[in-house]
């Protein structure tokens, strides 16, 4: 079974802090994704990556950056956390390129920015 893990289930940070959310997948998937989930808004794509050191902006990249130095790891970085970034963050991975690929999700990180 594919396993996608996220470094923290719950995180509390202060406004202005730099925040790192880590995601690791163990199935040699090419693609990795970061989504943000908010009540009434569903999930929205922040960034994705089709290869090591490669990244593409999603629908809401403002205030975020990403890093993919190794194939199995995809990090989401909040350069200066703000209260409007309080949310659930979901990481996902998929095997290959193509819009038909099934995504496998991590358990999510619930971030609270005070």
């Amino acid at each position: 079974d594919v396993k996608v893990t996220q470094s923290s289930r719950y995180l509390v940070k202060r406004t202005g802090e730099k925040v790192f959310l880590e995601c690791v997948q163990d199935m040699d998937h090419e693609n990795m994704f970061w989504y943000r989930q908010d009540p009434g808004l569903g999930l929205r794509l922040i960034y994705f990556s089709y290869d090591v050191k490669m990244k593409e902006k999603g629908d809401i990249p403002e205030g975020y950056s990403v890093s993919r130095e190794k194939k199995e790891r995809f990090s989401l970085i909040l350069e200066s956390a703000s209260t409007n970034q309080t949310s659930m963050y979901l990481c996902a991975s998929s095997l290959g390129q193509g819009f038909q690929e099934t995504q496998y999700f991590g358990p999510g990180t619930r971030l609270l920015v005070l």
């Binding site: 996608v4 693609n31 994704f33 989504y35 009434g40 808004l41 569903g42 999930l43 929205r44 794509l45 994705f48 999603g58 979901l90 996902a92 998929s94 193509g98 819009f99 038909q100 690929e101 099934t102 995504q103 999700f105 991590g106 358990p107 999510g108």
Partner: protein, 110 residues
């Protein structure tokens, strides 16, 4: 831009009954994939079923089936013989990276 609309924020169903969750989408593409994902409370999101627009036959996975109407851009999910474990948020989604609907919260009543 592609959009996905789920018009039912919440639904409920009696155990063992059948329920249908609605989804419509908007795209100008001719070939694409549609997905239903399930997110149980405090658990990971998992794929329920997927449908390729190129195929006319509706996808089925055990108790889960879809009614795919390409011309109407409609992709509803039918859950038969509902079980308590089916209680979850259900998201309709388009392609990968996914464009999600806002979700439907399904409650199952014993």
């Amino acid at each position: 831009a592609q959009t996905v609309t789920q018009s039912q924020p919440e639904m409920s169903v009696q155990e063992a009954e059948t329920v249908t969750l609605s989804c419509t989408y908007d795209t100008s593409e001719s070939d694409y994939y549609l997905f239903w994902y399930k997110q149980p409370p405090s658990r990971q999101m998992i794929l329920v079923i997927r449908q390729e627009a190129y195929k006319q036959q509706n996808a089925t996975e055990n108790r889960f089936s879809v009614n795919f109407q390409k011309a109407a851009k409609s992709f509803s999910l039918k859950i038969s013989d509902s079980q308590l474990g089916d209680a979850a948020m259900y998201f309709c989604a388009y392609n990968t990276p996914l464009v999600f609907g806002k979700g439907t919260r399904l409650s199952v009543i014993a």
